[in-house]
Symmetry: C2
Subunit: 176 residues, 2 copies
C-alpha cells in the first residue's frame, strides 16, 4: 500500500482497542456524533434494529463492569455506550441480522470516535448468557432488547501504532 492511501485510510488502521483512559470529558455533542455515525451503517432491509443506552453514571458503569470480565476499565471511561438490538425490529426477527447490523453500527461508532480523538474498547456481551442477563437487569431492558456489546469511550491513556492483521492465507481467489 502506498503511503498516500495508508494516510487516507488512517481512520481505519489507526483505530485500536484502548483499555487505559485518562480523566476527560466526552461531550453530549460528541456522543450524538458517535450515534449519528453508528446509525449510518447499513442494516438488513434498512430495518435499523439498533438501540443505544448512553451511561455516564459511575455507579451504573461499575455495575456493568462487574458483569464483564474484560471490562474492568469501564468506570474509568467518560461514557459507556450499550449497543442493543430489538429482535422484534430486526429483519424477519432473525438474530443473525440483529448481530450483523449492530456490529456494523458499533464499528462505525469506534471509527468515528477515533477520528474525534477519543479512545474506545468494544466489550463483548452477546452471546454470554450471564452477561446478557446482568445488563438487562442493570439497565431495565425490555424482553425484546438484546444487549450486544458495551463500548467504553473516553480520553485515550495509551498510544498504539496503526496496524492491520491482514494475512494472505485468509484470502482465496475465484473459489476456495
Amino acid at each position: 500500500m502506498n503511503s498516500e492511501i495508508k494516510k487516507n485510510l488512517g481512520f481505519i488502521f489507526g483505530r485500536r482497542s484502548i483499555r487505559v483512559f485518562l480523566p476527560g470529558e466526552v461531550s453530549d455533542e460528541q456522543v450524538k456524533t458517535l450515534l449519528e455515525a453508528a446509525m449510518s451503517a447499513p442494516s438488513a432491509v434498512a430495518k435499523d434494529p439498533w438501540r443505544f443506552v448512553v451511561v455516564r453514571e459511575k455507579e451504573t458503569l461499575k455495575k456493568i463492569a462487574d458483569a464483564l470480565p474484560n471490562g474492568k476499565m469501564l468506570p474509568n471511561a467518560a461514557v459507556g455506550i450499550v449497543v442493543c438490538g430489538d429482535i422484534e425490529a430486526a429483519h424477519d426477527k432473525q438474530l443473525s441480522y440483529l448481530l450483523q447490523d449492530c456490529a456494523a453500527a458499533i464499528e462505525n461508532l469506534l471509527l468515528a470516535a477515533h477520528t474525534l480523538g477519543l479512545g474506545t474498547c468494544w466489550l463483548g456481551v452477546h452471546p454470554r448468557e450471564n452477561r446478557v442477563k446482568a445488563i438487562k437487569e442493570i439497565l431495565g431492558l425490555p424482553e425484546n432488547i438484546i444487549p450486544v456489546s458495551v463500548v467504553a469511550v473516553g480520553k485515550p491513556g495509551e498510544v498504539k501504532e496503526p496496524q492491520t492483521r491482514y494475512k494472505a492465507e485468509k484470502v482465496h481467489y475465484e473459489r476456495w
Copy 2:
C-alpha cells in the same frame, strides 16, 4: 453537528449502498487494500475468524447473483468479495462472535472502498439457508466455513447524498 466534523466523518456518512455499476477496473492492489482494511477490524479475543473469497470471473458472479434475490447487479460489479467466517476459528466456536467479527470487517471494507472512490453493496447471505448452501457449493467452501455476505465492488454508477438514519427515540440515557 458542525460542518467541520461532518466533513471529517464524510468517510462514514458518505458511504451509501451502490446498486448501479459502470464498467471499470478494481485493481488487485485496491482489493488488497480493502482486505487490509477489513482485517484491521476488532474481533472477539482477536481470533480473526474472517475468510475471504475474491471473485472476478463473470460466470461465477452470475451463479452467485442467481442465488441472491437482491444481488442481480453483482455481475456488473468488477469484483465480488465473499466474506465468510470459520466457525472453528471463532472465539469459543460461537456463531454470534463469527457474525459480529465478520460484520465489523465488512463495514471496514465498505468504508475503505468508499474512500478509494469505489461503490459497494452488502448482499446478505447468512442466515438464509438456501443462500448459504448455494454459495458453499459454488465456491467449494469447506464444512466449517460459513458465508456471511457478498460485497459487490465496482465503479459507482449512481450518486447518493451523505446521510445518517439517526433517530433520537433509539437512544436512551442511563437506563431504558
